[in-house]
């Protein structure tokens, strides 16, 4: 989908056109869903939160000032919902006791490798998980992440380094175990 066409659809959806909004859901569902899976490491929760994020977006789309920022605006919505869900989960089950339902995709060549990565990512802090997902999965630059997460760019740099080192440590532990 070329940019101009996309911005036209965003503009239409902003004006209350439900058909245009459905096109946007189709275009961004993967992005939002992947982010939710990475944050929550739980299939069903991720589907719920991704759906909730789009419903929320539908009702607050009129407050989006810049159509060009739709993607980051959408990620911000789902990120906040994921953090709320994680807080609720921690409250319900006791701190640090999140369920870690493994995500096994039958299409993947090596499901064991995937399971290990999911588990390792899920054991990182929320901030570390978020920064890895924003950079490596969503493809945002440091400056954009700093703006989205509302921290200085230097913090993004150090946080991403710390997150990668923590993930490396977790993966090494998984290999040994």
């Amino acid at each position: 989908m070329v940019d101009e066409e996309l911005y036209h659809i965003i503009h239409e959806a902003k004006g209350g056109n439900q058909e245009a909004f459905t096109k946007l859901v189709n275009r961004y569902k993967g992005t939002v869903y992947r982010f939710a899976v990475g944050m929550l490491t739980h299939h069903m929760d991720a589907e719920d939160v991704a759906q909730e994020a789009f419903v929320k977006a539908f009702y607050s789309l009129s407050s989006l000032e810049n159509e060009y920022a739709f993607s980051s605006w959408m990620i911000r919505i789902v990120s906040n919902l994921c953090k709320d869900r994680l807080k609720k989960r921690a409250k319900d089950q006791g701190f640090g006791d999140e369920p870690n339902e493994s995500i096994v995709d039958p299409n993947l060549a090596d499901p064991l490798e995937k399971m290990s990565l999911e588990e390792s990512l899920g054991s990182l802090s929320v901030d570390h998980r978020e920064v890895i997902l924003l950079h490596d999965v969503q493809g945002y630059r440091y400056e954009e992440i700093a703006d989205m997460v509302d921290v200085p760019i230097g913090t993004v740099k150090s946080r991403l380094f710390a997150a990668r080192m923590a993930l490396r440590k977790e993966l090494a532990r998984g290999d040994r175990g």
Partner: protein
């Protein structure tokens, strides 16, 4: 060996260093095996993350579910939350009652006050007009005050004893 550049490696692989920092890292990497190994590991982990998440697909009926969720919400009555409905209705009912009867109520209170003032005025006028009545009033007042003081003292003595 100069000090390691581990904390710069992450930004180096993301191409987020300035020219000077980038050259510094590259110079160090040429002569440091451990930093080279770490960089390779970080690249591998990044590729693994990208690969893993690129395989994930949202459910096929996702759009329909979002549409359904929006439709469900649209159908929910405005007062569906319940807790706000009752006090709001009570407030509206009281408001309507006030609008309907407010003017009559105010007139009633106003009329009653005027009547009381007129009665007090007439009584004082009547008393001052007849000298005997004034004397009787003063005596009666003194008796009432004395009786009240006496009763009050007895009451206080009874409650403290």
């Amino acid at each position: 060996m100069s000090c390691h550049v581990e904390d710069q490696l992450s930004a180096y692989m993301d191409d987020e260093l300035n020219e000077e920092e980038r050259q510094q890292v590259e110079t160090h990497l040429e002569s440091c095996d451990s930093c080279q190994v770490l960089l390779e590991e970080l690249f591998t982990i990044q590729s693994s993350v990208i690969h893993t998440f690129s395989q994930l697909q949202a459910p096929a009926d996702f759009e329909i579910r979002v549409q359904q969720a929006i439709a469900d919400r649209e159908e929910t009555p405005v007062f569906g939350k319940g807790w706000l409905f009752v006090p709001l209705m009570a407030f509206i009912a009281l408001g309507l009652l006030w609008i309907a009867t407010g003017a009559v109520f105010v007139k009633l209170v106003h009329g009653f006050l005027k009547l009381m003032i007129a009665m007090v005025y007439t009584a004082s006028h009547l008393i001052s007009g007849v000298p005997v009545l004034s004397g009787i009033t003063v005596v009666l007042s003194l008796i009432i005050i004395s009786t009240s003081v006496y009763s009050l003292r007895r009451l206080l003595q009874t409650s403290t004893s």
